[in-house]
């Protein structure tokens, strides 16, 4: 009887101690609770054997995005076309940047020799316990060359997010639609190849990005034709993102409205990504690959592998 009472008392006092510890952890500054991150991977390692198969089953039942075309070959062609358009626009952007560099730099020697990107297909493991956080894990890590800053896309050209941290086997991805992801600069495409006005987009937390539209990216275009319209595609053109992410598709314009701060002067757009990050069975991680032989920008031939 006395021993039982003693066990109960010690259990209660331990509980009180743990509760106070958690209260302190819950309101402590971020730099003091960084150690808690060490426990994330073991917990996810234990949960993954249940979470991953169930998630895959659910996505297989429900589908992972817009309806597929009946003919798989047509579907493949659409993917290839999207990818080629993105490469073309990326190349044009690079040419434009290089011309600017040549103009601005008196030496004109340090030019980007080419862009090598390894596209890695990574299965999505899932999100964490709190649905308010959009961070999700993918099954690709440092051993595959994935590290913080790598760009994550789906269907080749649809931007999903950016890797914020990686361990040996997994990486944590912060979607562009998560409020914590911050602002990004996009460009409205007036048609498949013509650049329109730039826009500064900010995630609002409901799966969309809202932003003010700036002046046209193409000064030769007439001003009436530069107005953003519902249904137009918005692509990434943000110097803060990796070169491999430039001109990836952010989404399509869902709504055009007056800017909240300057309703008479500025236009705002609401952009919705075509594919939701948390509904994917697998994503493509674009890893800058130093080992892939670079293409000679003048001849287009593969250069010798780097030592």
């Amino acid at each position: 009887m006395a021993r039982q009472l003693q066990v109960r008392l010690s259990s209660r006092s331990l509980l009180t101690f743990v509760v106070w510890g958690m209260v302190i952890c819950a309101i402590a500054p971020l730099k003091l609770i960084g150690w808690a991150g060490w426990f994330h991977n073991p917990v996810m390692f234990l949960l993954a054997p249940i979470q991953h198969p169930i998630r895959s089953g659910v996505i297989a039942l429900r589908g992972d995005g817009p309806a597929r075309l009946a003919d798989p070959l047509s579907y493949q062609s659409v993917d290839q076309r999207d990818e080629l358009v993105q490469q073309l626009l990326q190349a044009r952007g690079e040419i434009s940047d290089l011309r600017t560099q040549i103009r601005e730099l008196s030496h004109g020697l340090e030019l980007n020799p080419g862009l090598n990107v390894l596209q890695l297909i990574a299965p999505v493991i899932g999100t964490g316990g709190d649905s308010a956080s959009g961070v999700f894990s993918v099954k690709a890590g440092k051993r595959d060359g994935v590290d913080a800053g790598c760009v994550v896309a789906v269907r080749g050209v649809h931007l999903i997010g950016r890797v914020r941290g990686a361990d040996e086997r997994t990486a944590a991805v912060l979607p562009i639609t998560d409020k914590a992801a911050g602002k990004l600069i996009g460009v409205v495409m007036l048609d498949e190849q013509q650049l329109g006005p730039a826009c500064l987009l900010e995630p609002v937390g409901d799966g969309t990005l809202v932003g003010t539209v700036a002046d046209s990216g193409d000064p030769s275009a007439p001003s009436a034709a530069n107005k953003p319209e519902v249904g137009l595609t918005v692509r990434l053109r943000d110097p803060q993102w990796a070169a491999s992410a430039q001109m990836l598709i952010i989404g399509t314009i869902e709504r055009v409205q007056a800017d909240a701060k300057q309703p008479l002067l500025k236009t705002a757009i609401v952009v919705r990504p075509q594919y939701q990050a948390d509904r994917q069975r697998q994503v493509i991680v674009r890893v800058p690959d130093a080992a892939v032989p670079a293409r000679d920008p003048q001849t287009g031939r593969q250069a010798e592998p780097r030592p």
Binding site: I27, F39, D130, S131, K179
Partner: protein, 186 residues
């Protein structure tokens, strides 16, 4: 109470919740049900106070540890652990007023317990926003509404949990004292 069985069931339910939640989420909101909370409610209905609080605390801790927040992928220990523990305490206190063996009790109490847990978790995260202007903090108003809706949704999963786990009560070492009061001693 059989702690090992409770931990195994809690682990299975948490894995199930993480896997299935995106399928049940009311897109494009974050409204989604919890599978773990009805189990905590069930334990709190039948178990003594201290084990019930420990169950809530440990399962909430698992939720906290599985969640990375913000651009720095911060893991914040406490919001869900304390939230689930307070929810367990709420149920533990309220159980004197309800018919424990009725499955509707579990459904209704799950909704209220989820509200309590979400309020505590959100309050702690909002406190961080006030003190530090954290990048991990949430927009409290929208989030509170979504979490209330999630709590109602949790009531639906509680129906499934009620039918699946009520038969496991003896294995969990949980008994209704009211049903034993008039039974024969073996």
């Amino acid at each position: 109470m059989n702690v090992m069985v409770a931990l195994v069931i809690g682990y299975l339910l948490l894995g199930l919740e993480l896997g299935i939640r995106e399928g049940l989420r009311l897109w494009p909101t974050n409204i989604s049900p919890s599978f773990v909370l009805p189990f905590i409610v069930l334990v709190a209905l039948f178990a003594p106070t201290t084990p019930a609080l420990w169950t809530g605390l440990l399962l909430g801790l698992a939720v906290d540890l599985s969640t990375q927040r913000g651009p720095e992928l911060t893991v914040v220990i406490g919001p869900h652990a304390l939230g689930y523990m307070v929810a367990a305490y709420f149920v533990n206190v309220a159980r004197a007023l309800v018919f424990r063996r009725n499955r509707v009790t579990l459904v209704v109490l799950s909704i209220f317990a989820a509200c309590v847990a979400n309020i505590v978790a959100l309050a702690l995260l909002a406190l961080r926003k006030i003190i530090y202007a954290d990048p991990i903090a949430l927009s409290t108003g929208d989030e509170l509404l979504q979490r209330f809706a999630s709590s109602v949704f949790t009531g639906l999963t509680a129906i499934l949990i009620a039918f699946a786990i009520f038969p496991l009560l003896p294995a969990l070492g949980l008994h209704d004292p009211a049903s034993r009061r008039f039974s024969k001693r073996s």
